[in-house]
């Protein structure tokens, strides 16, 4: 994969990321068909399919934990972005209209009570455990959840669908991260290491590896593996690998972006609205200030 400095530092061997995991049976019971195509559809589905307190529509954290960063993707699918192409200057202020559309969407979802109580302090495991206990209609989660269901609750897995993220009003933003291999710069056996990389990418070898792992394919040569057909949830990984964008997209994945992500900046803006009852203007202003401080350090 080519890095911002234009050089290849590591070679990918698998894609991974969050996907839309849905209770197809609850959706069907509500008289709905197929997966929601847009975030607006997903909210409508959630309202209709949930039966609180037995099940809740959108089981997504809005907390200070990194799983809450999915809200940044929802915001970006409304047309906003954090920084300029170079990843140096914050431009979110130029996207006020798009951000406010996103905040309106979130506020509508909040008022519709599709979130389970407690999401504002959830850690990164709570959406998993809520889905595992059968109390969720939609979650955004990696395939680890499905691997747990496969081993512990195959009945629930059979009722579960795996999809790419819905579209926003402007675009479909579905981030994908990766696993990769690199050669140490100071290795004493560079040729041997290179050969190891070539051998490890060999389709027969990767077929065996991917059948027992949770990675999506990084080469077209891997698309024919049986694992994608055998396990329904692995199909979701293929779709995600084919359609997803690099983490941070459309922003540059750099230190500044990473730091604002670990600070869960966008989720904190949402919490200001629903926990602190701040106005959109005040919450947005604070977010711009925080982003400015973070990006300013790396400019």
């Amino acid at each position: 994969m080519r890095e911002p400095d234009g050089r290849v530092h590591h070679i990918l061997y698998g894609f991974q990321g969050f996907m839309l995991i849905a209770r197809d049976d609850l959706i069907a019971q509500a008289g709905l068909k197929a997966a929601p195509a847009t975030w607006v559809d997903m909210l409508a589905y959630a309202k209709k399919a949930q039966q609180p307190p037995r099940s809740f529509g959108l089981v997504i954290p809005v907390s200070n934990q990194t799983d809450s960063n999915v809200w940044e993707d929802v915001m970006k699918s409304h047309g906003a972005r954090l920084a300029d192409e170079a990843g140096k200057r914050v431009v979110l202020g130029d996207h006020k209209r798009e951000v406010w559309e996103f905040l309106d969407y979130f506020t509508e979802a909040w008022k519709a009570s599709v979130f389970p109580p407690g999401v504002t302090t959830w850690d990164n495991t709570m959406n998993n455990s809520t889905f595992q206990s059968g109390k969720a209609v939609f979650v955004l989660n990696p395939v680890t959840l499905s691997l747990w269901l496969e081993a512990n609750n195959p009945e629930l897995l059979a009722k579960t669908g795996h999809y790419t993220y819905p579209r926003g009003p402007k675009s479909l933003i579905h981030p994908v991260n990766f696993g990769s291999r690199s050669i140490l710069k100071y290795t004493k056996v560079p040729e041997l290491a290179k050969q190891f990389l070539w051998d490890s990418m060999e389709p027969a070898k990767m077929d065996a590896e991917l059948s027992v792992s949770q990675w999506g394919p990084v080469l077209n040569a891997y698309l024919g593996f049986d694992v994608w057909k055998k396990k329904s949830f692995m199909k979701g990984l293929v779709e995600m690998s084919l359609r997803g964008e690099p983490e941070g997209w459309p922003d540059a994945f750099n230190d500044a972006w990473r730091e604002q992500a670990t600070n869960t900046t966008i989720s904190r803006m949402l919490q200001r609205l629903v926990v602190d009852n701040w106005s959109r203007e005040k919450a947005f202003t604070e977010t711009l200030d925080v982003l400015g401080k973070i990006y300013g350090k790396y400019a």
Binding site: G118, T120, T121, E259
Partner: protein
């Protein structure tokens, strides 16, 4: 009139220098210093060096994977302007003062009860230590489950008793989050107070209570004029230690709320953790700790002075 002094140089015979063995006292002093050396080295290595290094870090832009260079007061300016800093300042004081006060009262009440001749006293004395000896991780995960709005015991009980119609998300609402964290932390830590006070009560002579009874003192008066004065020194030490431990507590907030909802339970230890361990900006994390140092010293001094006045009054 000033007198002029005259000096006179005289040759004095110098005795022949004889190398003498170190006197017994010198040998003892050297031996003592040698014995202290390991302790001094440990203190320098494990206390002084990290302390000085953290001060240095707070003036550098050190991040994980980079060497770091001197940046003056930049970290302090950045941290003070950070939106959660003021919340962390207030929350740390609120958390520390409230939790220590609750632990003090609860610990004293339980110690007084366990100091009476009650059935199963030894069992209860041993049982008392359970929250204190359990790993913090286990305690706070249990409390998180107790508080859970969907499957937590507290909500179930309150709804079953007809006291609630809909569950309360204790940890996720600004109005209840800090109080919930304080209660959980106090429950875990009060046995230290109770057991220390109980030990102190054992040393108060029974004759003092007998004399007070003869004088017609009520239970409250016995507590006020016999028990409390007898415990002042212990209360002082316990309060001092607990203030330091509580102000530096990390697990209760990290495990129960992660500083949320929003910044309702953000304390300085968590802010330093986020900046240092999550954002990997060690200089900023050190600046947070350094900025809170005067506050902690102030809290400790306030407790010490207050108790010293009480004890010497």
């Amino acid at each position: 009139m000033a007198m002029r002094q005259r000096s006179l140089a005289v040759a004095v015979p110098v005795p022949e220098t004889v190398p003498r063995r170190p006197r017994r006292v010198d040998r003892e002093q050297l031996g003592g210093m040698a014995m202290l050396l390991p302790t001094v080295l440990i203190l320098v290595g494990l206390v002084l060096y990290p302390f000085v290094y953290s001060i240095w870090l707070s003036f550098s832009d050190k991040a994980v994977g980079s060497a770091g260079r001197f940046v003056g007061l930049a970290n302090f300016r950045y941290v003070i302007a950070w939106p959660q800093f003021s919340a962390a300042l207030v929350n740390t004081v609120v958390f520390t003062v409230c939790a220590v006060a609750i632990k003090l009262v609860l610990g004293m009440v339980v110690a007084l009860v366990l100091n009476q001749q009650i059935r199963g006293r030894n069992f209860f004395r041993a049982f008392l230590l359970l929250p204190w000896v359990m790993p913090a991780f286990v305690v706070y995960l249990v409390w998180r489950w107790l508080y859970d709005p969907l499957s937590g015991l507290i909500n179930y009980a309150l709804i079953d008793l007809g006291l609630l119609q809909t569950p309360i998300a204790f940890l996720s609402e600004r109005s209840t989050a800090m109080a919930s964290v304080i209660v959980a932390h106090s429950w875990r830590a009060f046995p230290f107070f109770a057991i220390s006070f109980l030990a102190g009560m054992q040393t108060i002579a029974q004759e003092l209570y007998d004399a007070a009874q003869v004088d017609g003192a009520s239970r409250w008066q016995q507590f006020r004029h016999v028990t409390l004065p007898g415990l002042y020194q212990i209360i002082g030490v316990v309060l001092l230690l607990s203030t330091i431990w509580t102000a530096n507590a990390f697990e209760p907030v990290y495990l129960l709320t992660g500083g949320g909802p929003s910044d309702a339970t953000m304390v300085y230890t968590l802010l330093a953790y986020v900046m240092g361990m999550v954002n990997l900006r060690l200089g900023e994390a050190a600046a947070v700790s350094t900025l809170f140092l005067p506050l902690l010293v102030g809290l400790v001094l306030a407790v010490t002075i207050l108790l010293h006045k009480k004890a010497t009054a």
